[in-house]
Point group: C2
Chain length 306, copies 2
Amino acid sequence: MPVLVVGSIALDTVKTPFEEHADLLGGSASYCAVAASFFSAVNLVGVVGADFPAEHVAFFKSRGMDLAGLQVAEGRTFRWSGEYMLDMNVRETRSIALNVFEHFTPRLAAGYAESAFVLLGNIGPGLQNHVLDQMAGPRFVIADTMDLWIKVALDELMRLLGRVDMLILNDSEARLLTRETSLVKAGLLIQAMGPRFVAIKKGEHGCLLFGEGGDFFSCSAYPLEDVHDPTGAGDTFAGGLAGYLASTVSGEVTFGDLRKAVVHGSVLASFNVEMFSLERMRSLTQEDIAERYESFRLFSHFEVIP
Amino acid sequence: MPVLVVGSIALDTVKTPFEEHADLLGGSASYCAVAASFFSAVNLVGVVGADFPAEHVAFFKSRGMDLAGLQVAEGRTFRWSGEYMLDMNVRETRSIALNVFEHFTPRLAAGYAESAFVLLGNIGPGLQNHVLDQMAGPRFVIADTMDLWIKVALDELMRLLGRVDMLILNDSEARLLTRETSLVKAGLLIQAMGPRFVAIKKGEHGCLLFGEGGDFFSCSAYPLEDVHDPTGAGDTFAGGLAGYLASTVSGEVTFGDLRKAVVHGSVLASFNVEMFSLERMRSLTQEDIAERYESFRLFSHFEVIP
């Protein structure tokens, strides 16, 4: 079953303490969609400028995506530049140029409105709501968000929270949204704002998943010795999660489905940070994914399955 | 099989943003020994002053401990005072009075030298080494340590690391000891210093366990909504872990044993922080422990055992 993915498509310049690369493929929709494509068909909604390299479009196509929702606008593609400190958990945005993204209005191509699964990647909640306005009753809607929208578009975000099944955000964003130090309390408070399911990402400490009736799952992160570029880790997590759900769930989404979806999202994200941009996704295989899923089982379970 | 526990025995004054209590039972040996006593017999080695309340000795006895190694010295009991900030992960020591602890020399009572399991609770590594000097070839030795000893007694600590099977320390201490940001690299570097097994505690984010040949286990923390007093959480973790091993392992300690031991330590620690000092341990039952162990399984496993 296809998952509809909407978000930003960008050209990134990324600096770490060890390397710097310019004009890399980036943006929330790029990471979400490519990750999802490892499990399911993807309907992509986004905008690029006339300068967007054809090789990136070819890469999306090679992942089997439907690109009828990809608008090409006059002007330059959205650009973002950021720098990571020696502690790679700390990032500074160096510059942002919205370019064609400034006037982006998501438009659903023919048939997209019937997508059963929707992943609203990280863009303004106004645009996320606009996508939902066009949908014909999707089965499961996941939204990602960030600190910026909590600060500047809280009303639209709160309206969105009443319409989605699941919210994904990181620990500092959860604390910002709820003004609560305890992540457990924060998760429960966000559920009270609307979403039945909440995933709080904790970077190198993994992810907490809150479900209905006190359901709770704690997913560890893969023990990587080196992280080369954390950019897009959260988007890749969301994409892997959404793609896995779309590929395996034919009825109601259960908490058991979501546990495994969170692990698949974590597997994809753990691969993605091994190289800059989406480079690692180009060589990733289903065998790699299956093998790392099994390592997640081995290092998370203490009652071992025979 | 009894576990020999050595460490400090203190009277603590603890302030949180919500409460303050004076002259509470505390100290690394108190927490370690009481936690271990839920699983195995305990031989306690420590020192208290003449002012140490008889009710605390009675509590130790009620937990079935052998107290022949508990010295009562002239003078006052070791006192510690600390304050927690609104973020309970942040603690400031307000005062320390070593008192009788200043001239403490651990002495093993008759039969203690043959203990198969040894838990060297957090005291100076010189004293920890002195205990090992008196042992008759223990099967498994666990040591806990802290930032202070890494800073002021590194040589003694390094000598200790060559003699223990397992080191337990927290994330900031692991980074301090190895000057490495990545906890995965830090764990591997500490193994290279001697211990076959290393447990890095991450507070609310759980614990990482490193074993031989790349064995790795990540244990989540219990999702508590409220923490009333984090004092002794790490000691309780170590005590529960050691007591569980001593009670269940009759041959060589395997990584599978240690996974379950880490979970049992986490279960005990999660109870202990629910109340001040060791208060929660007074009412804790085996049924409570078994129930919470099962919740750990439910929120950590994604491939569910039938």
